[in-house]
Amino acid sequence: MTGAEIFVECLKREGVKEFFGYPGGAVIPLFDELYKHWEEFRFILVRHEQAAAHAADGYARATGKVGVCIATSGPGATNLTTGIATAYMDSVPIVAFTGQVRTAMIGSDAFQEADVTGITRPITKHNYLVKDVEDLARIIKEAFYIARTGRPGPVLVDVPVDIGLAETEFDYPEKVELRGYKPNYKGHPLQIKRVAKAIEESERPLLYIGGGVVISGAHEEVRQLAEKANIPVTTTLMALGTFPPDHPLYLGMPGMHGTRYANMAFIECDLIIAVGARFDDRVTGKIDAFAPHAKIAHIDIDPAAISKNVKVHIPVVGDAKLILRELLPLVKPRPRNSWNDQIDEWKRKWPLTYRNSDSVVKPQYVVEQIYEATKDRETIIATEVGQNQMWTAQYYKFHRPRTLLTSGGLGTMGYGFPASVGAQVGRPDALVIDIAGDGSIQMNIQELATVVQHGLPIKIAILNNGYLGMVRQWQELFWGRRYSAVDIAVQPDFVKLAEAYGIKGMRIEHPSEVRDAIEEALKEPGPVLMDFRIEREENVFPMVPAGKALHEMIGGLA
């Protein structure tokens, strides 16, 4: 078989049906082989390689499968990097294939040459440059294995043009044997016992749930643990959807734009049981003032996540679901106590709230209305990054895991729209909505053509304030209202732009039109772009100012 034939055969063996990409000189051999198998795959041709990586990422997050993308050498590959870094920071399994110049020309500054394995080394879980066609099948097998096991992440395979043309025997290994890579899934029984004991001894426990629970599929076990021992639960941005939003034990999201009561729970608790979370600075606030009274138990599959940012007293390395299953029978039922009462009082005192208006559209209201209009359907929400992301996290109620796609770690503007392309391809049954800002949407607006070409009925809701809103908010609050380089009121007519691409565009300028517009958009069988003209200087509150402690929140009081 030729390398290109091996490539296609390996994709089939890995169960890849859908993938994303953009051709170019160095990958013509691979695309030529794909052409012979066109009906066996659904290949989504994007309009910019960055979108291919984000789409593979959105596909992976929405389905739990490995996302695949492909781009050519040089600029094709470098365009993928933002998407790869985004996936890396949020532990998303993708395999990226890139073309490379002929092996004999590597290092000669050839046309469209870039040291792609060098460039992507710090943003991939692992990467490969294929130097011999005989290694290709093994490498692809390993790439998929590494991407989806342990703490998942992106793996890149760089394939020189001549490798695609070279011939060898096809031999797909049954098993992967990597002596340097053996992820550990089963938690240490003694450590699990120590967690159970810590819960028993604790007066004020708190479950702090992160994206690892989504990846592991441990949300049911988390709920059982919380209910058995009456432990309040806070879920990070990455874990929204893992705990029922209306549950009495639920505290919502913690951190910079989290709820006051989740943050107060961190300050006052005496035990944190962290599951698949990594004590990110956006969650902890000022690290020295974080959880001053708490003993910390940390369940995580990545040993390096433990004691990285805070000192952990009871580490348990392994898979969240397996560990929680071991832990559950060891935990004694714990009746509600004054801690639960205290938390209920905080929840009553500091509800998440905003001041609505009957003359100007408030972004929080738009998000609430999108929720109301979609809550009875299978809905996947993608966001961009900035205010749109935080308003969505605060005001959309996520009931199931894998229904929020958002760039949490890297904070990539332009992620949401291409991620929704991936999600819609992976979940054709679901309603997919991208909640965007007017800044972010313009970072990958070219994908409107992809959506049209591939018949993806994605709805886009732009919360349009004519500003790079989150930066403007920081400038307003902490930089003396010096609005440096954030006014983007000069922008296209988004309705006409949508129409130019052949899709429905809507402009919503008054609060009374919001709900009807959403309903109308949802009725439309094809993609729709909604341009919500919102209050220009609305802020995301409450907020922990950068460098402050979690209890030093500002704004957002009723």
Binding site: G118, P122, L129, R179, G180, Y181, P303, A304
Partner: protein, 162 residues
């Protein structure tokens, strides 16, 4: 505090870059790094000396362990180990002072590996203290050039109290 880390890694191209890149990306300083093939030609051994407190060390070890090409990592400075470094020192040596320098070399069991009318080049091996001492002794003569290999280290086989 200085720590000596021994890492067994796949003997493949790009592995050194991966490890060096990890150190720079995570803001860890490398004092020295040596690498060479082991008794198994598919495995290389790296000896890395890093400066840092226990938390830095713990992160370094964990991050190294995460690399797919890294097979085993151990902090050997927490146990009994032997370590050696080789150094080449080119020192000013006018005829009048040559014997003095050669005497010093002898004390340190070092070898003279090159000689010219005005210089001697000395090869010395030893642990850090010994290397430091011979450099200190030769400094007054004027060291023209100095090349160090960095530390290689190995756990002692007999680890009981003697």
């Amino acid at each position: 505090m200085k720590h000596t880390i021994a890492a067994l890694v796949e003997n493949r191209f790009g592995v050194l870059a991966r490890i060096a890149g990890l150190f720079s990306a995570r803001g860890f300083n490398i004092d020295s790094l040596t690498v060479g093939e082991t008794e198994d030609p598919t495995i290389s051994r790296m000896t890395i000396v890093v400066e840092g407190d226990d938390r830095v060390l713990e992160q370094v070890m964990k991050q190294l362990n995460k690399l797919v090409d890294v097979i085993k990592v151990s902090d050997i400075s927490s146990q009994k180990f032997v370590d050696r470094e080789l150094v080449l020192i080119k020192v000013n040596a006018p005829r009048s002072r040559r014997s003095e320098i050669m005497e010093i070399a002898e004390v340190f069991r070092a070898k003279i590996v090159d000689i010219s009318p005005n210089t001697l080049t000395i090869e010395a091996t030893g642990n850090e203290d010994k290397i430091k001492a011979i450099i200190g002794m030769l400094k007054p003569f004027g060291i023209k050039e100095l090349a160090r290999t960095g530390r290689v280290a190995m756990l002692r086989e007999f680890r009981g109290e003697v």
